[in-house]
């Protein structure tokens, strides 16, 4: 398996361009053609989640503070993210993709992969390029005229994603054994998904400075010297168009974090926000039909100090109250001057109702109360019933767009 995969490319990667900014420009026609930045909170210190192409053209980058962006682009329009809107577009895109194959994987809220390997022959015979252009048109027809996407077609997920990034916005590229050298010759190592600073250093240390040199490196060097593990072999195969990334991620933990809206909050106010996060995480945990045994809490201070603590319980827990009791106990030792807090539950498992311990009655009562509260919140809307402690926190600790996971969409 040393040669490039020569089979017909049947993996299509679809990536919405500057997704949230494009959706806002679609929703608000007067914003089209203007530099737009999406932030989670409209303050000068907020980081930019997405920038429109017009903003990017003026040097605005994702992750930049809004204040810095304004210095580069004074007329930038900052909008607070609107998750319901993006969720709708995600579901529309998913519905379109599902029309072509039963094997669709959404990688995040704005990108997904269609695997045509088991698609009907008549569909594949049309050619994936034609299907790609049809999907682009359907996005415009079914969502709106401003919606554009990049499409990449290749024999594996990695090369399809690489192809999708070649001609932004609105590109469609096919990457095969015939053009791979020409394409990689135009790229930098860090243009490749999965190669960031650390991996770049590793590759540089053995004289691999370009993607073409990476492609030409032998398997043993990558495996034994560069990555020192099977990861080297995966890269060797990945670059040659063989599939190594078709893996289903398991749910490992459920968590949330929050950057405090003000940095002069009292200790009690910080704990209230922590309580709010516990309720949010508890709700997410149960929505995935999981219970947890571990809880982890962290805090970042103004002095960039990172504090964390964790606890592994002997019995699984699931209720907001149970999570909060554990988190609050751990948080007692947190330093002052906190600017960011976060928690996550780990060691997740499916609930086992059959195995009741000595405190079965109490557990059943807790289950009943939790189910009743979840039922009310499902019927009347999120946070209809919650602890009195978090009455005033809802306007600050809002639900934001979950990146990297489509589990809660």
């Amino acid at each position: 398996m040393t040669e490039h995969n020569q089979v017909m490319p049947l993996i299509m990667h679809i990536d919405l361009n500057s997704c949230f900014a494009s959706v806002e420009q679609q929703a608000r026609p007067m914003l089209r053609g203007k530099p737009v930045a999406i932030v989670n909170r409209r303050t000068e210190h907020a980081s930019i989640v997405t920038a429109s192409y017009e903003a990017k053209a003026k040097g605005v980058k994702v992750g930049m503070k809004l204040r810095e962006a304004r210095a580069l682009c004074p007329d930038i329009v900052a909008l607070e993210s609107d998750p319901a809107k993006y969720r709708h577009v995600y579901h529309k895109l998913l519905a379109i993709m599902n029309d072509y194959s039963a094997h669709v994987t959404m990688k995040s809220i704005d990108e997904g992969v269609i695997d045509f390997h088991q698609a009907p022959e008549v569909l594949v015979a049309r050619g994936l390029e034609e299907i790609g252009y049809e999907i682009k048109q359907r996005l415009r027809d079914e969502i709106g005229v401003w919606m554009r996407c990049n499409i990449g077609i290749a024999t594996n997920r990695f090369l399809a994603k690489t192809a999708a990034g070649l001609h932004k916005p609105d590109g469609l590229d096919v990457l095969t054994s015939e053009n791979i050298r020409a394409v990689l010759g135009e790229l930098k190592l860090t243009d490749l998904t999965g190669i960031a600073t650390q991996n770049e250093k590793r590759l540089n240390s053995v004289g691999i400075m370009t993607p073409l040199q990476f492609l030409d490196a032998d398997k043993i060097t990558l495996q034994k010297v560069v990555f020192k593990s099977v990861v080297g072999e995966w890269w060797y195969k990945r670059l040659r168009g063989w599939e190594v990334d078709d893996v289903q991620a398991q749910i490992g933990r459920v968590g949330r974090q929050y950057v405090l809206e003000r940095f002069d909050l009292s200790r009690d106010e910080v704990v209230q926000r922590l309580h709010h996060l516990c309720e949010s995480v508890g709700s997410r945990l149960r929505s995935q039909n999981r219970v947890a045994r571990g809880v982890y809490v962290y805090a970042k201070t103004h002095e960039r100090q990172y504090w964390h603590a964790s606890y592994l319980a002997p019995l699984p827990f699931f209720s907001d109250q149970a999570i909060y009791v554990l988190v609050e106990r751990l948080f007692h030792k947190a330093p002052d001057g906190v600017r960011e807090i976060g928690i996550h539950c780990y060691d997740l498992e499916e609930p086992d109702d059959t195995q009741l311990g000595l405190f079965a009655d109490e557990l059943l009562q807790e289950q009943s109360v939790t189910r009743a509260i979840d039922g009310l919140n499902h019927r009347f809307g999120e946070r209809t019933v919650h602890s009195a402690d978090t009455l005033g926190t809802g306007i600050y600790v809002k639900q934001k767009v979950p990146f990297g996971s489509t589990r809660y969409l």
């Binding site: 929703a27 007067m30 914003l31 007329d75 319901a84 577009v89 919140n377 009347f380 809307g381 209809t384």
Partner: protein
Amino acid sequence: MNDETLLNELVQVVAIFKPGHHSCMPVRFKRGNGRVVEVSELGLRHPLPHGSKTIHVFEVTDGGTDYRLEFDSERLTWRLRMEADHYD
């Protein structure tokens, strides 16, 4: 700059219901002050779940100002929730 004005104003709306991808299209609405707004484009329609009730959000424009209209599918009421103009 950002010039969003958040509102909670009951409005009268004329809408067209038709088959197709955009099955409901507000074409005109009358505000509390009597001003009539002619909708020139529907930017996006999306649902906003509120428990088991669904609010339908219509982001529209009259060519100079963007508006956010919300249709409560349970109460059958329209509310103007936001207007945003002169982004310059």
